[in-house]
Symmetry: C2
Amino acid sequence: MTIGIVGLGLIGGSFAKAYSDNDEHKVLAYNRSKEVIQAAYNDKAIDGELNEGNIKDCDLILLCLYPQLCIDYLTKMAPYICKDAMVIDCCGTKELICQSCYPIAKQYGFTFIGGHPMAGRHFSGYAYSTKTMYNGASMVLVPEDLNDTKSIERAKKLLSPIHFGKFTICDYDRHDAMIAFTSQMAHVVSNAYVKSPTAKNHDGFSAGSYKDLTRVAWLNETMWTELFLENKKHLIKELDYFITALQEYKTAMENDDAETLKKLLADGKHCKEEIDGITGE
Amino acid sequence: MTIGIVGLGLIGGSFAKAYSDNDEHKVLAYNRSKEVIQAAYNDKAIDGELNEGNIKDCDLILLCLYPQLCIDYLTKMAPYICKDAMVIDCCGTKELICQSCYPIAKQYGFTFIGGHPMAGRHFSGYAYSTKTMYNGASMVLVPEDLNDTKSIERAKKLLSPIHFGKFTICDYDRHDAMIAFTSQMAHVVSNAYVKSPTAKNHDGFSAGSYKDLTRVAWLNETMWTELFLENKKHLIKELDYFITALQEYKTAMENDDAETLKKLLADGKHCKEEIDGITGE
């Protein structure tokens, strides 16, 4: 297969390394910085640069830029893409990109499916990409028609060299609602948690729970700002649920109301148990 | 040494196993349930039961019950404790227990130091205790007089068979303020996080951040209710800081204010970086 990868950051770089690990596949990549292209050549992660002339050869094109840049790229390159090709983006939110790209694909006759690989690392950039980053991870696919099994099966086949552990198929609204909860809220909460004036000098007073709660506090603020604003409908709803829940514990403590506090804690315990089982895995 | 251990749960059981691992030490234990005493005998974790008759032989007595039960026990047993003995509790908050136990110790001539081992496990109870649970962990010591180096050094020596990695010495107010942030808030936040109606069916949409954020959501609600109410002065303050911080992100999103949102995220990132370094360890 010939794979076009647009953007050689952590996400695109990891796809490039995974596909090029298998000699059967040819990887063509676009990246603004030529230094990264050179690094990818040195790593034998790419076979050439992706451009208007050769994008027609791609069986699969993976858009691995920030959302608006993906849309801009596809808008510009759509006339050159082969009708048999499949285009999948890898952005963290899906409504904007799907609403923008489904019609472009329809107009030019190729297939677009929204995608979101559930894997990442603390740091961004090609330098941190690895060929195994997606091994066993979940890949969310967002086709325009959930019953379009032909396209879904083709996407799975095109992605099979990546060794995802699981594919989750859903529409963009469900994706964005779920991701607001599982990922975006985790970043907001962690980022807010460390702002307490008490945070300094916690050394000697903390065990695993502080470490876990604040692991994702250090983040790429430019990327998350774009993703949060795109998904603000769902994220604001999650923040409301969460702040309301926190205020209930606070009120119970202010009232010295042990019975209510214990019930609130038991409620959360039972939610966790029901969702993930007792061990929380 | 002869060590008295009051309460053979996760905390006391782990102390018993660690001390009894060394034949030089004799471990006497008190526990309400006789089944646990029998299990500890079977494990060779204890050499006998602790009672009014033999508590006078103890060089060190570790109180490993819930706070109020520790105070009740010490109040009842104080007349039988040797003047040379040191008593250390292991409760998660220190103001109530220290304010209650310092005067009891003074009245009967023995030494009381507040203690809090910074280690634990997901589950409570003797069955989960291990002789290595405290290896390398931090132990907080709360002496009545921070300049009482003689008692502090003696406590360290008495605890040396446990192989703590570090001792942190502070007064009870500092302990309780820090622990409200590092541990208690982490449990409230995690417990509240999973209450979102979106939480169900997150499978396929979550990577490491959801897992980390909700690891301690499953908790012992009876124990934490007592600890939270005892420490509500500090914990309510932390909840206020946190809710205020969360509302700032929410307002920025509601206003589509990318500049402010990015600044809020960068602020949190810089806090984390300053406190724990970029890698967050």
